[in-house]
Symmetry: C2
Subunit: 354 residues, 2 copies
């Protein structure tokens, strides 16, 4: 198990340290564990003048999986685009072919009060958003700015998908639905965009190979509505890169606790990058206040997806559930009557609960 | 007052009839009212083989405003793109230069229970989403499909904005904020897209002319989150066409009653198209079940924006509030203890309450 550890910036450092602690505890002496730390984001700029240093790319390429914290600093916008700490993540996705982004949105029963939605609307929520991560308007060429025919300044990006790109994410989506409730909703804007007509056509065709999965389609505006109106109607949602960016954050917010949500970004084989959904939260960084559970749960996804250790993944998830049941809470998920703990103490509690 | 009336398809016909009834009642004998009905959507196909017949375009061009119902029928996807009933609306927006789409999301206190969000999160909600409506990936060229360099099928659309396009919607946004809470949030994806970097730059520059309006910026994924987490933080939101499509529907759903929400799509002067946010709802069409209040409130926006009749607009809005307070409800907003009424009866009640 060769794991590249990239804590990155802000609270990324503290939460990743807890995930590593739990990882060591759960894997135990069963398998050799090789952890290689690599600088990314502002940390990469500080170390090597590049948010994604060449040495970091190399470490990533040689690893079986990446445990990622968070990258980006306030004021990023002033730096040239591809040199921004936050952009290091985009470059990494493309370089490593991490095309399938899994964003589960599930609600821990103990934290149901944190949602801004009524309890009956989100109680038992468990949905998986699968976002295509290396295509679409994020990477489409041509892109840029200049003068148009009228001599006016303009700028443009290209939404683009090829048939094989849609096919491979569709296969991942149907296979994922098979391990869950066998329901897949594909989200597009086929009523307006040619690129999304191709999307719908290809997903529909791939679906013929999975007759046991119920496939539906929604336009992205309707999907945003339905996520808020009746989110429990969904099992797996598959969509393109930019729609997925928006909908996965909306879905995360349904739970009210983004400090709890993990994610996985997978390449074709078992290689993946695992990161908490939350950002760098510079305001609370370095204060032992951050919630490490999203990072710990991301590590559990790593055990399941990259190392076929579903048993250990389940043990970690069970331990997280137990510390919540015991009433331990970091500040972001604190409720009256619970015990407030810091980042380290939460990590220790998960280890103890294992 | 020369008004083109385009009821369109499904419940569009019934709700528009009620809006016309209330319009006649409120304008009274004060001003000559010329109403010209024109076919659009499936009705246009039936009448002239085109969802947007030439005669309809001509009527629209000669009018001061358009009262629009709803266009589109189930199964649209089978018809060539620009011939679809739903696409007639896109063509109309472009032909008439309707670049500024006003989508208010406000909560009637009587209907607070309809929201899936907790009452304290949405109580008193009153936000305005301003969506650019004639640019972006909806209309950007080049667009289409073909084979890429690897011989794979692909399809593409272009997100494109010119400086003048962003400038004019920005001015509308700042002026709108001035008539409300003087807070404007511009939503983009400037951390990834060049077209959105131009958007942010231009909005920021235009903002210098409105020092009395507080301008903030959010990335679209964060905006989707914040809309769900704390929607009352917003006053006016301005964004591009596709992000606006998604966010305005999400904002509408915050109220839980899209049968209540109006919209206005404005050209450069006082010309505008007014339509309820809801769709054609073919399942309940022709049954006197549809809620006409969104159409009636759209007509009120028309009085205010196209005819400078703020007084009459306020009278209509007040009448709607009174019928709700009296407990009258169509099926979509029905609550125990209220009186269930049909489309016509609701229209009559608004007239009576005037
Ligand atoms: C930081 C940003 C470029 C990134 C994205 O838009 O993909 C982020 O929002 C995410 O979802 O991981
Ligand atoms: C019908 C469709 C083309 C349209 C759009 O995407 O603009 C609709 O969703 C809207 O928001 O008016």
């Amino acid at each position: 198990m060769k794991i590249a550890v990239m804590p990155g910036d802000g609270i990324g450092r503290e939460v990743t340290a807890q995930a590593v602690k739990v990882l060591k505890a759960v894997v135990g002496h069963g398998r050799p564990l090789e952890l290689v730390e690599a600088a990314i984001g502002q940390a990469g700029i500080d170390a090597a003048g590049d948010p994604l240093p060449a040495a970091t790319s190399e470490i990533a390429q040689k690893a079986d999986a990446i445990l990622f914290g968070s990258a980006g600093m306030p004021g990023d916008e002033e730096i040239p685009f591809m040199m921004r700490p936050g952009a290091s993540l985009l470059r990494l996705r493309k370089e490593l072919g991490l095309f399938a982004n899994f964003r589960p949105a599930f609600l821990f029963p103990e934290l149901i009060g944190a949602s801004t939605l009524k309890p009956e609307v989100v109680d038992g929520l468990d949905l998986m958003i699968l976002r295509e991560l290396t295509g679409d308007v994020y990477f489409g060429e041509p892109r840029g700015s200049g003068l148009n025919a009228n001599g006016e300044r303009e700028a443009f990006n290209t939404m683009r998908y090829s048939e094989p790109e849609v096919e491979r994410i569709a296969h991942v989506a149907f296979r994922t639905a098979r391990t869950r409730g066998r329901k897949l909703c594909s989200v597009d804007k086929a009523n307006v965009l040619e690129v999304m007509q191709l999307w719908r056509e290809v997903v529909t065709r791939v679906g013929k190979e999975y007759p046991d999965v119920e496939l539906t389609h929604l336009f992205v505006d309707a999907a945003a509505m339905q996520l808020m109106r009746a989110p429990k109607q969904f099992d797996v949602i598959v969509t393109g890169n930019i729609f997925g960016d928006i909908l996965s954050d909306a879905a995360a917010m349904l739970t009210g606790s983004i400090g709890m949500l993990p994610s996985a970004s997978m390449a074709a084989g078992s290689f993946g990058l695992y990161e908490p959904v939350h950002g760098t939260a510079p305001d609370i960084a370095g204060k032992n206040l951050a919630n490490p559970l999203a990072s710990i749960l991301s590590m559990a996804m790593m055990l399941r997806f990259s190392f076929e250790q579903a048993g250990n993944a389940g043990r970690v998830e069970g331990a997280v559930r137990r510390v919540l049941a015991e009433g331990l809470r970091t500040g972001d998920i604190f409720q009256p009557g619970c015990t407030r703990v810091g980042t380290e103490e939460m990590g220790d509690a998960v280890v103890a609960a294992l």
